[in-house]
């Protein structure tokens, strides 16, 4: 019988040992330092991440003119905000925002790999990288969204954006009803990476 669909019993322990061995060799040979990997990870905890996207969306919710500028020219509008350096950095050099509206729901995919707007959303969650999602969303987005617990009726147009060149896309979800009294900071807490990629909508807490 073929071994094609079998995994090593110690799958994770083996990968953990192998990646540690690789990192050790790269440090020993002077390719990276003993701080390099942690430096990268700290950057994604503090500088690039979905906390930036949440601020951008909350501002778009409270300031319709900003939302218009964001959709017209995302990098330029994002530069107006007090966000960390690097908002046009790695994987954010050419970002575009699309806004959900009554009758229009946007979904971002990357059928060829996993292109994702790092500065504003950090790193892609596993669902986004999954070949099954990437295959199915291009033909049956509603069926896929229903599996995420987001039914989209047939009278709502779904726009699916495949990130196949230089643009890194993200979605401005609609502001949830019943949030009129919330501050911008309180609104930020309602914005998830899933809502900014279109597999969820923002909900009032």
């Amino acid at each position: 019988m073929s071994e094609r669909f079998k995994y090593r019993e110690d799958r994770e322990a083996y990968s953990a040992a192998r990646v540690r061995a690789l990192e050790a060799l790269l440090i020993k040979k002077g390719i990276i330092t003993d701080r390099t990997v942690d430096t990268v990870l700290e950057f994604f905890e503090t500088k690039m991440g979905p906390f930036n996207g949440a601020k951008i969306v909350a501002r778009a919710w409270v300031d319709p003119a900003f939302k218009e500028r964001l959709v017209a020219n995302a990098p330029k509008a994002i530069a107006e905000l007090d966000l960390p350096d690097g908002m046009a950095g790695a994987e954010g050099e050419h970002m575009r925002a699309v806004a959900n509206a009554p009758g229009v729901h946007n979904l971002i995919i990357c059928t060829l790999c996993s292109c994702y707007p790092w500065p504003v959303l950090g790193l892609p969650p596993y669902w986004y990288k999954d070949p099954t999602f990437r295959s199915r969303a291009a033909r049956e987005p509603r069926a896929v969204l229903a599996e995420f617990g987001l039914p989209i009726s047939e009278d709502v147009e779904v726009k699916v954006w495949d990130s196949s060149a230089q643009i890194r896309w993200f979605v401005v979800p609609e502001r949830p009803a019943g949030t009129e009294g919330l501050s911008e900071t309180e609104l930020e807490a309602l914005v998830t990476p899933e809502a900014m990629m279109g597999v969820a909508v923002a909900k009032a807490a």
């Binding site: 040992a17 192998r18 540690r20 040979k29 990276i32 990268v40 690039m48 999954d130 990437r134 196949s164």
Partner: protein, 247 residues
């Protein structure tokens, strides 16, 4: 033909995975950090020289080529960062940075003692460059004059270019007709030359809208549009022959 170039529209795959975590095992964070450092230290970037022994090019294109060259069953079988670990380890071995034997031997050591420490050494200038790359990025935009052949609203047909190793043309769009939604201002390179597939030099990029009924006749959901960003090389007039001859 690589399945990885034709994922869009594949059927029979079962439910999607709705895992929202970025990393599902702690070890995955390490390979992500290594990959990002390699991109930052790649010799094609105009960043300050560092004492790092890294002296070759590594971009997303290299990572993608590795994933696209996998047996398609393996592509589906292994998790995202498992594929990264395989591809990146192979790169360091193929380029003579490390040997497979020493990687295997050290893997055994860490397997036997996962708490065994990592070496401590390195010049801070290396890490400074990594941060500088993250902040500045690596834009594919080039300040060269290119004339966009098509305008917003034009009906275009997607070429059937001879992709061999790597492409940025989603396979399900080949030979299909769409409408230009956006002509991106400026010109854009790709991370590598894709040979007969035809991207690499700076060119226009278009966002093209497709009707799913054109993509999947009689087999698509209603009331949706699919948009893709496509290099000019892949975009042809609607009224010409569909295939592009290899240069």
């Amino acid at each position: 033909m690589k399945l990885q170039h034709y994922l869009g529209g594949l059927e029979g795959l079962g439910p999607v995975n709705t895992e929202t975590r970025v990393f599902v095992e702690p070890w995955e964070t390490r390979i992500f950090g290594i990959h990002t450092a390699m991109m930052a230290l790649s010799t094609h970037l105009p960043l300050p020289q560092t004492p790092s022994a890294f002296h070759t090019i590594w971009t997303w294109a290299d990572l993608r080529k590795g994933a696209e060259s996998l047996n398609p069953f393996d592509y589906f079988k292994y998790r995202y960062y498992e594929k990264w670990l395989g591809g990146i380890s192979s790169y360091f071995i193929q380029h003579g940075y490390i040997t497979e034997e020493e990687l295997d031997a050290l893997t055994e050591e860490y397997y036997a003692d996962p708490s065994k420490s990592l070496p401590s050494s390195g010049d801070a200038a290396i890490d400074d460059r990594v941060v500088q790359y993250l902040v500045e990025g690596d834009s594919p935009a080039r300040d060269v004059p290119v004339a966009a052949k098509f305008s917003v609203g034009d009906v275009v047909r997607i070429a059937n270019v001879p992709s061999v190793e790597h492409t940025r043309l989603p396979g399900f769009l080949r030979n299909r007709t769409g409408v230009v939604e956006t002509v991106y201002p400026g010109a854009y390179t790709y991370l590598c030359d894709t040979g007969p597939d035809g991207i690499g030099e700076a060119m226009t990029v278009y966002c093209v809208r497709f009707d799913p009924n054109e993509l999947w006749p009689g087999n698509a959901e209603p009331n949706f549009s699919l948009y893709a960003d496509l290099y000019a090389r892949y975009v042809a007039p609607a009224d010409v022959s569909l295939s592009v001859k290899a240069a």
